[in-house]
């Protein structure tokens, strides 16, 4: 069978499996729809969280991004894992003890304010919607590159599957499909990482191959010889302050993402929420410690295979010819010597943030253009893996995108149907009405996501990267203070939240005004050396400081709210939380 037949078979097979799981786990009550009936085993919840969390970007693009950034790629490696420590220690067990269904639920009750509830619900919808459009682009990439399916058809098909799972199975269906999706994506990733590690170093375990062989040092030396930055040396692409702030913004943002937090509402007890965060990070860490190894191996291999060879020679290699067609790998013989060489700088000039393949950048001698996505996508062919494994990688990329999309859809659905509709607009709504609204919202959100994925307005791609900064500056501080500072009150939390959110939005808007508003130059370079990706950290600090000061100048929260804080601090009784009360 050809690679294409294998890919079709595996993708169709996995989609049927996901649909079957959702159908088997269909739900009829809100407890199942929002929080999977609080009956998910901590290890399974760990797997579901890992799939929920690892997006198309983690699976397809991250290793490539790291191989380009070298040491500084740590902003993604540490930034997208360290937040789980914050979640486990500061948030998950207490929110699980509190019970109920959503993050805005907690913020609204803890700050005895429907304004706070509404702001938190709107922040949830906004963060999730920007995030989901990125997943849809990932689906488009996988389907168009492997199967030649038109991107629009690909996105619509994927969303029908995702919406079906969400509508039928609710959180329960999503949880168990995510467990299956985790299996597919991690298997694919480890196969790829292991195969290339074995070929280049003789050790099939990528993490060990990276640590115990000198391949990273050799890559570093090759890069230096070519005039590129030393791979293992820090701060070649960002300043130390930028690495620091971006990493922190991503960590805190992770801990503030509603679709991640809500996963910890689904385990039976508060103590399960703690250990489940450990399992989640273990499962995520399997991919996140493989990615930097894969980045080193793939880059080493590309430099060794391509640099200084004649154009005919490199085009004779199967995978080079294939990926050149997709423009993920492109050559431009600038000096006309018939050979291709790596050098610092860009091969092509950029137009609208993408390389313009007809317009070489003559200021640089670089003649080999490598798209970040190629590192994961091409490695199975480079390592001469069986067509089955190549097909598995396509299915893995798809699983990563679909699982994240589903988690986001249910987060948006509960923010609208539970927080806005039931808790604020129609407190007398019946369970059946709430479920109906929840299911309709999944459809509407899926339709909007499809539109954003097919026709991304220029700024959407920009905003996706900043969803973390916004989550860090808005939702994280009021939740943490709601648990750890009994004196924190409504006035403090709301003014902090608004300060953090507005500051971060304004800063991102000004620093990225070219992409967002189409101004000729950015309205602002950076803020005290901190760029737009890291600015959420400043927003978060402002949020904490403003909230603290305002809360001390205004009356303390009412007695029953202080009792609520004492109640969530004690794990005892968390297993009894059922239904509406606590």
């Amino acid at each position: 069978m050809t690679v294409e037949t294998w890919t079709w078979s595996i993708i169709i097979l996995t989609l049927i499996a996901y649909g079957y799981i959702a159908w088997r786990t269909h739900v009829k009550e809100v407890e199942g729809f929002y929080v999977a009936g609080r009956g998910v085993h901590p290890i399974l919840n760990g797997m579901a969280t890992a799939a929920d969390w690892m997006s198309a970007a983690s699976f397809i693009s991250m290793a490539g991004l790291i191989s380009f950034l070298g040491f500084d790629g740590t902003v993604y490696l540490m930034g997208w894992t360290g937040g789980y420590v914050l979640l486990a220690l500061l948030l998950a067990p207490y929110l699980r003890k509190y019970g109920k269904f959503t993050v805005p639920d907690f913020i609204g009750d803890r700050y005895y304010s429907n304004t706070a509830r509404a702001v938190a619900a709107i922040a949830t919808i906004f963060i999730s919607l920007t995030y989901i459009s990125g997943q849809m682009r990932g689906v488009g990439i996988v389907l168009s590159r492997y199967l030649g399916v038109d991107i629009t058809t690909g996105i619509i098909t994927a969303l029908v599957v995702v919406a079906f799972i969400g509508v039928i199975g609710g959180m329960k269906g999503i949880t168990y499909t995510q467990v299956a999706q985790y299996g597919v994506l991690i298997l694919a990733y480890l196969f790829v990482g292991g195969a290339i590690a074995l070929i280049l170093t003789g050790n099939p375990i990528p993490q060990l191959a990276l640590t115990f062989t000198d391949i990273a040092t050799r890559l570093s030396q090759i890069q230096v010889d070519l005039g590129l930055k030393e791979y293992v040396a820090p701060f070649g692409n960002f300043t130390m302050l930028q690495v620091f702030t971006i990493t922190l913004a991503l960590m805190v943002g992770t801990a503030g993402l509603p679709h991640v937090i809500v996963r910890f509402y689904t385990v039976p007890k508060a103590s399960d929420a703690r250990i489940s965060a450990g399992w989640a990070l273990l499962f995520i860490g399997l991919l996140y410690t493989t990615a930097p190894a894969l980045a080193v191996f793939a880059k080493y291999n590309l430099l060794q295979t391509l640099n200084g060879k004649s154009i005919e020679e490199v085009r004779a290699i199967d995978w080079v010819a294939k990926w050149e067609k997709t423009k993920l790998l492109t050559f431009y013989d600038k000096d006309g010597d018939g050979k291709v060489n790596f050098a610092p700088g860009r091969v092509f000039k950029l137009s609208g943030g993408r390389p313009d393949f007809n317009n070489p950048d003559m200021n640089s001698k670089n003649e080999i253009h490598i798209d970040n996505d190629i590192i994961v996508l091409s490695t199975p062919e480079v390592a001469k893996l069986a067509p089955l494994i190549i097909a598995l990688v396509a299915a893995g990329g798809l699983a990563a995108a679909l699982s994240t999309a589903d988690g986001l859809l249910i987060a948006m659905s509960s923010a609208v149907s539970h927080d806005l509709y039931y808790r604020i607009l129609r407190p007398k709504a019946t369970e059946a009405q709430r479920l109906l609204v929840g299911r309709i919202v999944i459809f509407i959100a899926a339709a909007i996501a499809a539109y954003l994925g097919i026709r991304p307005p220029g700024f959407v791609a920009e905003v996706v990267a900043f969803a973390f900064g916004l989550a860090a500056a808005s939702l994280f501080p009021p939740i943490v203070m709601g648990i750890f500072d009994k004196r924190m009150n409504r006035e403090g939390a709301i003014s902090g939240l608004i300060t953090g959110l507005v500051f971060t939005l304004v800063m991102i808007g000004m620093q990225r005004s070219v992409q967002i508003f189409g101004t000729p130059a950015p309205l602002m370079g950076d803020f005290l050396g901190i760029n737009a990706q890291g600015i959420g950290v400043v927003g978060m600090l402002l949020n904490f400081v403003v909230a603290f000061i305002v809360s001390r100048l205004t009356p303390p929260p009412p007695k029953e709210v202080q009792d609520l804080v004492e109640h969530i601090r004690i794990p005892k009784g968390s297993a009894d939380v059922k239904g509406e009360g606590h």
Binding site: M78, A233, F244
Partner: protein, 84 residues
């Protein structure tokens, strides 16, 4: 649960959190970022130490920290009789 006992439980919890977050910050922001350049002069097996922390070590230690917290808290919960 009386107030004194509840306060003692909360104190035990927050000191544990503080200690673990210090380790969290030292391995990531310390070893992986601020002191990475210096640590890169030392080799761990075949790779520079700063690079290893930034690309492998910090993540592994994060995982261990969560398991330690979960295990220690189960102990503290039982000690104060507040296990769930």
């Amino acid at each position: 649960m009386d107030k004194a006992n509840a306060d003692a439980y909360w104190k035990a919890n927050t000191s544990l959190i503080r200690n673990l977050l210090i380790v969290w910050a030292v391995v990531s922001y310390g070893c992986g970022i601020v002191f990475a350049q210096t640590l890169n002069n030392i080799k761990l097996f075949s790779v520079p130490l700063g690079f290893w922390f930034a690309h492998q070590g910090a993540i592994i230690i994060f995982i261990v920290l969560i398991y330690v917290y979960a295990a220690q808290m189960n102990k503290i919960d039982r000690q104060f009789g507040v296990e769930d």
